[in-house]
């Protein structure tokens, strides 16, 4: 309390009265509780309503297992693709000047501004049986819509901006001086990327990967349009949850939903960890680490 009262002369002009502060903090907490915490708890409560054994049964039944597998496959393909694309896009936008740069930035944002359902529909229009490429695809026996490739495509589209969006401001702020310094010192382009660019963006990249992965696994709208909801063939976890719920299989639906909730919690924890590590790195509390890394790279 003593420190509070000594700080008062400086803070008094910018601090609101107590009742204002408590009201606003209370409002925010109530809102968080009602719209985030209660649903989260209720997901687990519903999933476990009939006991642990039914919960586990719902998770290990073949269709649920298949949905998990498909979700993992979609994420495993979409995330690496987005890493490559995101780094390449951010690199070219941040380090070079070229015509159509602002157009590229706008295009990267497109998946954010378009409804996922519309995104899914465009894929149906392109690759579906009546679509532009439909005849050619069926003539060559390639199935995209109502099959795994369509799900992967939709997931890639929806998660497109996550990594690039994370890296562009970071790389723009860092500028190209360090890369140029490395080149002058005789490093090749690849060495410059590996030893200079990548270490400088690694925390931002990891952050983007975490967010991208969370979205890839949780995507519903676009995937729903292209999937066709064929059980055991084109169902991801979010789609599986919907089907079970519509069949009044609440334990099954909430059990699978709880997986997504756990994913969200893990994502949050990882995100916090990465932010904390990145802040620590900027403060450079960990000397000698970089030297070990360079030595190991040789």
């Amino acid at each position: 309390m003593a420190s509070l009262s000594t700080a008062a002369p400086r803070g008094i002009a910018t601090t609101e009265p107590a009742w204002v502060r408590y009201t606003f903090t209370g409002l925010a907490l109530t809102f968080l509780g009602l719209f985030l915490l209660v649903p989260l708890v209720s997901v687990f409560a519903e999933a476990l309503a009939k006991g642990w054994s039914l919960y586990l049964d719902a998770l290990i039944e073949p269709e649920a297992l298949f949905a998990m597998k498909l979700t993992l496959i979609a994420a495993l393909i979409a995330v690496p693709l987005n890493v490559v694309f995101g780094v390449a896009a951010a690199w070219s936008i941040a380090k070079f000047d070229f015509h159509g740069k602002s157009l590229l930035i706008t295009l990267i944002d497109l998946p954010f501004s378009v409804s996922p359902v519309v995104a899914g529909l465009t894929y149906v229009l392109m690759f579906g049986a009546q679509g532009w490429l439909g005849e050619w695809l069926s003539a060559h026996d390639i199935k995209i819509i109502f099959a795994v490739p369509g799900i992967v495509l939709a997931t890639v589209f929806v998660t497109f901006p996550f990594i690039a969006r994370e890296l562009i401001p970071l790389m723009q702020a860092q500028g190209a001086d360090e890369e140029q310094a490395a080149l002058v010192l005789g490093a090749t382009g690849w060495q410059t990327f590996w030893h200079i660019t990548l270490p400088n963006i690694k925390w931002g990249l990891l952050y983007g990967v975490i967010l991208c992965n969370a979205r890839a696994m949780g995507e519903f709208g676009a995937v729903s349009v292209v999937s066709g909801h064929i059980r055991g063939e084109t169902n991801t976890i979010p789609l599986h949850v919907e089907i079970l719920y519509n069949e009044y299989n609440f334990v099954g639906a909430f059990a699978c939903a709880s997986l997504l909730a756990v994913l969200a919690l893990v994502t949050l924890a990882l995100k916090t960890l990465v932010e904390w590590r990145a802040a620590r790195q900027l403060g450079n509390d960990v000397p000698l680490e970089a030297r070990a890394r360079l030595a190991a790279a040789k």
């Binding site: 001086d177 360090e178 140029q180 310094a181 490395a182 080149l183 002058v184 010192l185 005789g186 490093a187 090749t188 060495q191 030893h195 200079i196 270490p199 400088n200 790195q281 900027l282 450079n284 000397p287 000698l288 970089a290 030297r291 360079l294 030595a295 040789k298």
Partner: protein, 356 residues
């Protein structure tokens, strides 16, 4: 290693950064590129380094065409204005970088790299900071590490972009002297860019003054200061008073006053402007043969030089004069006093053509 710059042309859109610039830099020379911001000096430096490509023209290193040689193969050392130290690496790794990225065949052993880096860190007197990270260093320390890093690869040319621009006055002065010393010890051809005329005149063997993408004048610091080749150079190198008049019969005439011009100066006649530095003006209370008369409006008497501001009679222009403390005390100047000025030395340029 000598550098020849031949007819370099560089445009950015509508802006001409360099217009037909040619310059020879002798081996072992310490050269300053001096000019206001936007004059093209940094662009020229980056073209020499290979960080920018000229639209046309050639760069020759030691007589060999290096125009199309990639920056990583030019063997130049470049010190960036904001140091560009690798922020995720220790000081040691920063300095070692250029050696450790060499292909295996050309790479020194780990022990050799360590010896070399520690030797360089001792040279810049910062060996005790080997394990520190760049953001733990002061500006002057970062600058010296950046220099050590560029020297580690034994460059044939050292290029420095505003090397002392971001430092405070005291550190700047120390580093300036230190760079001069280093250059005298190592004899590596060096080019540095600056907008600070004092820095350029003090440190370099030769100064190249640039303006609007062209070289205005190149020469030894004393040559440039004593015999500026254009009104721009005269004004850029320091404070100057302007007097308009005519050149006639080898004399500069300003009103009733006439000043005989030396062999350096113009023979042709016509409207002209005389440029006179504040310390080249004599003040006295005697009216005979004076250039102008004025009243004392302001006296700034702190330090070894006393600065006096005069209001010129007739035109009402302000005239700056600089006196030594002794002169000032002998004159017993007071605010409002009427004094007469005589130039000890003046530079004259014809108004229209600006030719000499």
């Amino acid at each position: 290693m000598s550098i020849e710059i031949r007819n370099i042309q560089k445009r950015f859109g509508d802006f001409t950064a360099l217009e037909n610039v040619s310059l020879d830099i002798a081996s072992g020379e310490l050269l300053a590129l001096l000019g206001p911001s936007g004059c093209g000096k940094t662009t020229l430096l980056r073209i020499i380094a290979g960080l920018a490509t000229p639209d046309s023209g050639q760069i020759l290193f030691h007589g060999q065409d290096a125009t199309d040689r990639h920056v990583s193969e030019r063997q130049v050392g470049f010190v960036f204005q904001h140091y560009a130290l690798f922020r995720h690496m220790t000081v040691f790794d920063n300095v070692a970088f250029g050696l450790s990225v060499r292909p295996r065949a050309a790479r020194p052993s780990k022990e050799a790299i360590r010896d070399k880096v520690m030797k360089l860190l001792k040279l810049v007197q910062l060996d005790w900071l080997a394990d520190a990270y760049p953001n733990q260093l002061s500006g002057g320390q970062r600058q010296r590490i950046a220099l050590a890093r560029s020297l580690a690869v034994e460059p044939r040319v050292l290029l420095l972009d505003e090397p002392f621009g971001a430092l405070d006055a005291k550190v700047r002065k120390d580093l300036r002297r230190w760079l001069r010393q280093l250059h005298d010890d190592m004899h590596i051809t060096s080019v540095f860019v600056t907008h600070d005329q004092e820095e350029a005149l003090e440190v370099s063997d030769r100064v190249v003054v640039m303006n609007h993408g062209k070289i205005e004048q190149a020469g030894r610091p004393d040559e440039i200061y004593e015999h500026p080749a254009s009104p721009f150079v005269t004004q850029f190198l320091g404070d100057v008073n302007l007097f308009h008049g005519r050149v006639h019969d080898g004399k500069m005439e300003i009103g009733d006053y006439a000043h005989a011009l030396g062999e350096h100066q113009t023979a042709a006649g016509g409207a002209a402007t005389a440029y006179i530095r504040p310390h080249d003006l004599d003040l006295s209370r005697e009216p005979g043969e004076a250039l102008a008369a004025g009243t004392v409006e302001h006296i700034h008497a702190v330090g070894p030089i006393v600065r006096v501001e005069l209001r010129r009679e007739g035109s009402g222009d302000l005239i700056d004069a600089a006196l030594t403390k002794d002169q000032y005390q002998t004159l017993r100047l007071m605010l409002g006093d009427r004094v007469f000025i005589r130039p000890k030395k003046l530079s004259v340029f014809l108004d229209a053509g600006a030719d000499i």
